[in-house]
């Protein structure tokens, strides 16, 4: 019996645990503890100083999983430095004296099924390909449904009439998703909750503020690392639009990129790496539609987004839309974020009133 673990990001631990526990029924899946200040503290302690913050967060959760006895850690790569995280993190973990293997399922931003099969066989030789295909299908659908519901929540949570109604219903949904039996069951649960969500009472004024959030993927998807930005916006009764989610990254990105490139061809010719080019096109889209403002978030030292920032600034100037830039680090002050957000919100209101 092997103990398998993976780093924490948002609510995606639910589909990930679901998949792993079904394709490795004889192994134990260790769920990473929720990210806390301690996670980032130990993550920072053992990370290179100028590495980007997602590295510190994932290393922190990995070390917490190792404390719980994990033997194999699963990590995903990305289209930037993230692609090399797994190797470096494995080295750091081994230097700390843990006997552990880190498996990188995605390298160079590509998902190669053959390679993944090979790697999964290393975890357990009895692993069955057919089972993997079946459960991967369900998991992918689960991720898709979660993302659809999340988009709906983002648009409406700022206007809920009973405080916490959206949050509570979402938790109930996630618990039920966790107990999915087969695809039909999953689909039924999803439809049921979609109905329940649409029945939740909201009060949406016509003159509401709409903000689009763009930026670096990990910081955008893990609420702890962006200091619960979406929550504080919802408290100000703002409708939120966010593009990045796991389903987008895995299945839509490659296809969308060409569209984005054509759409924003006056702003970039070549890819800027990771999500930076996507964000430039999204910024143009937000400027052209009826959004009141844009918030760009990234972790400190995120190179692709640093490259995108001047271009985003230029687009916003051309369209006369305000952009707020946030750079989150392990040592960002909460008050500073609040002051800037409050001022941003006041400014948008003033613009809207006139």
């Amino acid at each position: 019996m092997t103990k398998i673990a993976f780093p924490q990001m948002g609510d995606y631990y639910i589909p990930a645990t679901y998949l792993l526990s079904h394709i490795f029924p004889n192994d134990q899946i260790i769920q990473a503890p929720k990210i806390t200040s301690k996670t980032i503290e130990i993550g920072t302690k053992y990370s290179p100083e100028f590495v980007c913050t997602p590295f510190k967060y994932t290393l922190g959760t990995m070390l917490e999983c190792l404390e719980k006895g994990a033997e194999i850690l699963i990590q995903m790569g990305g289209g930037c430095r993230y692609g090399y995280y797994a190797e470096l993190q494995e080295k750091i973990i081994q230097d700390l004296g843990y006997n552990c293997k880190v498996i990188n399922l995605v390298t160079k931003g590509e998902t190669n099924i053959k390679r993944i099969n090979k790697l999964l066989k290393q975890i357990n030789p009895k692993y069955s390909k057919i089972k993997n295909i079946y459960y991967s299908f369900i998991t992918i659908k689960m991720v898709k449904y979660m993302d659809i519901i999340d988009d709906y929540i983002r648009e409406n949570i700022g206007f809920e009439q009973i405080e916490g109604s959206f949050e509570n219903l979402k938790q109930a949904m996630l618990t039920e998703f966790n107990q999915t039996k087969n695809y039909r069951h999953l689909y039924k649960t999803y439809k049921k909750y979609l109905k329940k969500f649409s029945k939740l009472k909201t009060h949406k004024p016509d003159k509401r503020l709409k903000i689009g959030i763009i930026g670096e993927l990990y910081t955008i998807m893990e609420p702890f690392s962006n200091y619960y930005l979406e929550k504080s916006l919802a408290k100000h009764h703002i409708e939120i639009k966010r593009f990045t989610n796991v389903h987008y990254l895995l299945f839509e990105k490659a296809k969308e990129y060409k569209k984005y490139q054509k759409y924003a061809k006056e702003y970039f010719h070549y890819s800027l790496g990771a999500d930076a080019s996507d964000n430039i096109a999204r910024c143009k889209y937000l400027c052209e539609s009826d959004y009141d403002g844009i918030i760009h978030i990234k972790s400190s030292f995120c190179t692709p987004e640093i490259g995108a920032m001047p271009i985003i600034n230029k687009i916003a100037n051309e369209y006369n839309k305000p952009v707020l830039f946030f750079s989150f680090d392990s040592a960002t002050s909460q008050t500073g974020i609040e002051t800037r957000l409050e001022a941003f919100y006041d400014m948008l209101e003033m613009r809207k009133d006139k």
């Binding site: 200040s37 305000p322 500073g336 002051t339 001022a343 006041d346 003033m350 006139k354």
Partner: protein
């Protein structure tokens, strides 16, 4: 009885208070040092204001702004608690409706606010570091043995300011010590410091922002003639410094308090008020939140810092 409104701006270095009437005229004002104790500073401030306030006025609204706005807002039961960016913009727009750019350098932070047709269109605030702010200037003044109020006059005397690397406070300080030890005259070093504050501001906060006139410069540092001179020189535009430039945040928040009348009448009497804060660390989960409990006359009114909402 006539109505009036109190605005309090509690900054990191100084605490400012104004009382305005219905026509935005300043009835009385006060400017004192915060000295790291905002509650005590505000109590002193209110005492000064109260002595100068004519008897036929009653306070109909209180607003707080500045970095201690939340705490003092609770203490005074303020009707409006707003961030300093909005307060400064509102205050300035009331007196200068045509303003396009507001430059603001305070004790710990510096901001730039861009305005078009009376609406804020963009703003920026310095991040993380205090280089090029008031506290940096005042600590350097101490090092050179000069009162910070005379800083500007010294700077104006200089004919050729030295170059000081002011990207970072720590580097600037070592560069300054070096220049002093090599034998540069004091005036040139001070002028260099003032110039470096301007350059640092324009490279950091003002980066990518189009600065168009009329430009208004405010915040504590705007009282420094040297900094004003170099802003004029580098931007090649006229810089307006209001005689109340240091009070603009307080005036702005007082105007906001006037707009959000609650109908209540407030008292400036704080002698019997017991206002306490207690800090402790929660060990319920690994987050180890630093919590602050706030007591008003021994009654818990609020607690801050909890990530999970337990407190």
């Amino acid at each position: 009885m006539k109505d009036c409104y109190l605005g309090v701006d509690i900054g990191s270095i100084s605490t400012k208070g104004v009382i305005i009437d219905d026509n935005n005229n300043i009835i009385t004002q006060a400017y004192i040092w915060t000295e790291g104790n905002p509650t005590k500073a505000v109590k002193n401030l209110l005492n000064i204001l109260k002595q100068n306030l004519p008897d036929n006025y009653q306070i109909k609204g209180i607003g707080t702004t500045g970095s201690a706005r939340k705490l003092i807002g609770l203490m005074l039961k303020a009707s409006v608690v707003k961030n300093e960016i909005t307060a400064h913009a509102i205050g300035t727009l009331t007196f200068y409706p045509n303003v396009r750019t507001i430059l603001e350098i305070g004790g710990q932070d510096s901001k730039i606010i861009l305005i078009k047709n009376g609406i804020i269109t963009n703003y920026a605030m310095n991040t993380l570091c205090a280089a090029g702010t008031g506290s940096f200037l005042s600590s350097q003044a101490k090092r050179l043995g000069i009162d910070v109020k005379e800083f500007g006059d010294y700077a104006l005397k200089s004919q050729n300011p030295v170059k000081i690397a002011a990207r970072c406070t720590v580097f600037a300080e070592s560069d300054l010590v070096h220049k002093a030890q090599v034998g540069y005259p004091k005036e040139d070093i001070i002028a260099g410091l003032c110039k470096s504050v301007v350059l640092n501001y324009l490279n950091n906060v003002g980066k990518g922002k189009k600065i168009v006139g009329p430009i208004i410069f405010q915040g504590g540092v705007s009282k420094n003639k040297g900094v004003v001179k170099y802003f004029k020189e580098i931007l090649k535009e006229d810089i307006i410094v209001d005689k109340n430039s240091h009070l603009m945040g307080a005036i702005g928040i007082a105007i906001l308090a006037k707009k959000h009348k609650t109908g209540k009448t407030y008292s400036l009497e704080m002698k019997n008020l017991k206002f306490q804060t207690k800090a402790f660390e929660c060990h319920h989960c690994p987050n180890s939140c630093e919590l602050l409990k706030i007591y008003r006359n021994n009654v818990l009114v609020d607690s801050w810092g909890s990530k999970c909402g337990k407190y």
